[in-house]
Amino acid sequence: MRLYGFLLRLYPASFRAEYGEEMRRVFARRRREADGPGAVAALWLAAAVDAAANACRTHADLLRQDVRYAARALSRAPGFAATAILVAGVGIGAATASYSVLDHVLVRPLPFPRADRLVDLWENDTVHGYGRTELSPANYRDWKSASRSFEGMAAFTNLSANLAGEGAPERLDGAGATPDLFEVLRVHAALGRVLTDADGRPAAEKTVLISDALWRRRFGADPGILGRKVLLDDAPHVVVGVMPADFRFPARGSDVWTPLRFAASDYEDRGDCYLRCVARLKPGVSIEKARAEMRLVAAQLERAYPKENRNIGANVLRLRDEIAPESRWLLVALFGAAAGVLLIGCTNLASLLLARAIGRRKELAVRTAMGAGRERLMRQLLTESLVLAACAGAVGVLLAAAAGPLVTRLVPNALPIAENPPLDLRMLAIAAVLTAATGVGFGVVPARRAGREAALANLHEDSRAGAGRASERLRAALVVAEVTASIVLLVSSGLLLRALWKLQRTDPGFRSEGVLSLRTVLPMPRYEKTEVRQRFYDRVLTQARALPGVTHAGYISFLPMVARGMIQAVVLEGHAADRDDGFASMRFVTPDYFAALGIPLKAGRDVAPTDTAASPFVAVVSESFGRRYWPGQNALGRRFRFGQAERTVVGVVGDVRVRGIERESEPQVYLPSRQVPDAGFIGYFPRDLVIRSAVPAATLLPELRRIVAAADPLLPISDVRPLSDVVASDTAPRRIQARALAAFSALALALAALGIHGLLSFTVSQRAREIGVRMALGATPRDILEMILGRSALLAGGGALLGGVLALGAAFAMRALLAGVSPADGATFLAAIGLAIAMTAAGSLVSAVRAVRVDPVAAIRAD
């Protein structure tokens, strides 16, 4: 019979209490009537099936009943229901949306098979402060042949090429890669084939692999594309394959992949570093082991080439970790903020449910008296909070989906992943878990209380005194939690806003207003000769300057903040040619570039049309260059070796934040565009056109397009944007982040104010009788006011203390994001704590005033 008792346990307790005894008796009689072990076994089997099936149905009956009951109860309290659903839904939505970005960017494996085995290799020149520099072809070759840790190793370099011949010329991004890249990544072509070793031979026909996006955009998804020749930088390339739509390497927006070919001469200069290197670890080889081996390999090379490879180590990083620490922290901070909003939302939901359960005490007591078991009541309250949570979850998913377009801006461009975090089952699962946790976690507390009180209510007429203290403590804890969470959020977003303001006040070194920029990349080998290029620049610049409203126009290799590196070693006059004199950024410019950008000329002169290959090589340097190499002296007339030639300083200009607002940049050296050797420094010849004008870009642009097309009809124009956009996009992730955090904080503050007001006014209404007694015994309204406000001040103080400590921890954790603003910034902390205390005061004032108005007689009589 004990076994049958176990079967009975499958049923809901209320059902068991009602019918369990009778069912036991029925079973006992059947058991007595059954003769023979076969009949007994059959009886047990039937009983088990009967119990399992009916227990499920009974539970379902109850659930249906409870859901119906909950829906009715909630529809009778629409204000409560709407508030609870919204409050929790906002939290769930914020947490889900920010978690799905976090998951997409930081957690989910990259879209390659066994992506956890993929690593990046870098040269590590820590002595000069460059931990991640590209490899030279010679070092790549030697690393590859000497290492044993990798299944495969491939090199690639960013590639930009002009596509012509099929409609308007277009500028395409992609990679020049050693053909084994595809094997290392373990990817295949969707159509045709990937690049093979045969494509990499110097004499082979030029081939190209194109992206799915390009195939659809330019070639109408024509399956006959294979074998067709397309013009890339004026050279015909045979299309050998189309990659799948989800192949984004090295970054989003890559459209073409061509084989990287090395001639014997490419291996000569170990200082010519431009290769990125990706490798796949052999099974069983840990990244630490690979690091150790690469350290040895690099040390061997340093011994073999003591001059070129001095201080050159090897850095092995997981491909997954190729993400700027700022981006990582941004997402973590954002998720933290969203979690804070969720916490406050849940706290509010909890207090709402709690207040409701206590408010319904009478109803529950009546139902208990009518025979509803404690378990049934608990079940009902739990169901109610689950129904609320499910609705909140639905609202949260809707909000998260709506927030999708906003959060995609937080996905860094430089990762081989999609722009949009997928709104998939995992996200829904996360939302569901959050929902259920909210419902059960905060439904259980009020439900258990209700259960206890219902039991008490049978014994005592007034159960208020005993349960009151516990619930008062719980409410106090909730108030403290809300204040704490708001302070952490306020401090975090306050610090980020201060950092943003500080950066926005930072002078980039040039004036971006009224400057339009665009890019025309002259294809090789047609423009190999410096003279041919110069003819193009002169023609475009002369015509552009003649346009109405245009005051200055110039060409430069790369705009600041667009290409951040492009540095070369500096060798001072009389020094040996090694890397010890440091580095400077190198740009070739045409005359008038400094004026176009508003970079002040501090001494000497601008580059001039007379600075040609035939005249002495000159340079214009930034002030920091002069300070560094000739401190306290005049830089003009000084000589140094840079970019394969001796140069004389003829001008000094203001410093520019080449590496972006937030980073220190190397000193800058500008060289005249006419002094680029023929076919030399191919990556450096001027390509970015900047125009300073008084007329809007929209009227200027058609004219400029006409001028460029007239100079070279095959040349695409790309990257058209005001210079202010370049500066803005440099701080864009930070702006979005600061805004998102500020929005979360505002939301949290509003939710917390609402929650605190609810909690305190509930406390006052619960204590109405006590207040009445006090007033009857002679307490003045002032005493009551002091009592209520004093209590909320105490709670706010507790929350402020706890919040302050936690916020300090959070601030130190996100120090990397603060751009030099102190994590313990006093003003921010004071403002945040002041705001939170003001919010608590505001929340409690209304209820305090209500408390003062309590009519002692009515309050005492109320029960």
Partner: protein, 120 residues
């Protein structure tokens, strides 16, 4: 009666167990085990309700007002005072009748289409 009949239409078709229990209680008030025995006897053992099915049906039928618990006890010596007795309500009778009519209608339909022979 009119209302009960009307409302009865809402309940049908009845789950077979419910119909059997109503039939059994239509004859006389019974306790749970007696219902099981009676249903078994009535159907010559073809329908053997499990205790779970029985009491879940009873719970629902009580809620729906098809049956009620009765405080009247039959002959005292037959009684075990822990037992609960159930009685069919007028509503229960109406619902059982409506179900019987529905079933008869179905059988009639089967006959007129020649699926089963007409009674001689």
């Amino acid at each position: 009666m009119q209302d009960a009949e009307l409302a009865a239409e809402d309940r049908i078709p009845l789950p077979p167990a419910t119909f059997h229990i109503l039939l059994s209680l239509f004859e006389e008030d019974r306790h749970g085990y007696a219902i099981l025995q009676d249903v078994g006897r009535r159907t010559r053992g073809a329908v053997k309700l499990g205790a779970g099915t029985l009491y879940r049906s009873i719970q629902r039928m009580l809620e729906q007002g098809l049956i009620e618990e009765t405080t009247e006890r039959p002959v005292p010596e037959e009684d075990d005072e822990r037992r609960r007795y159930y009685r069919i309500t007028p509503r229960g009778t109406a619902v059982a009748r409506a179900e019987a009519r529905r079933l008869a209608g179905l059988v009639e339909l089967a006959r007129s289409s020649g699926l089963v022979p007409r009674r001689a």
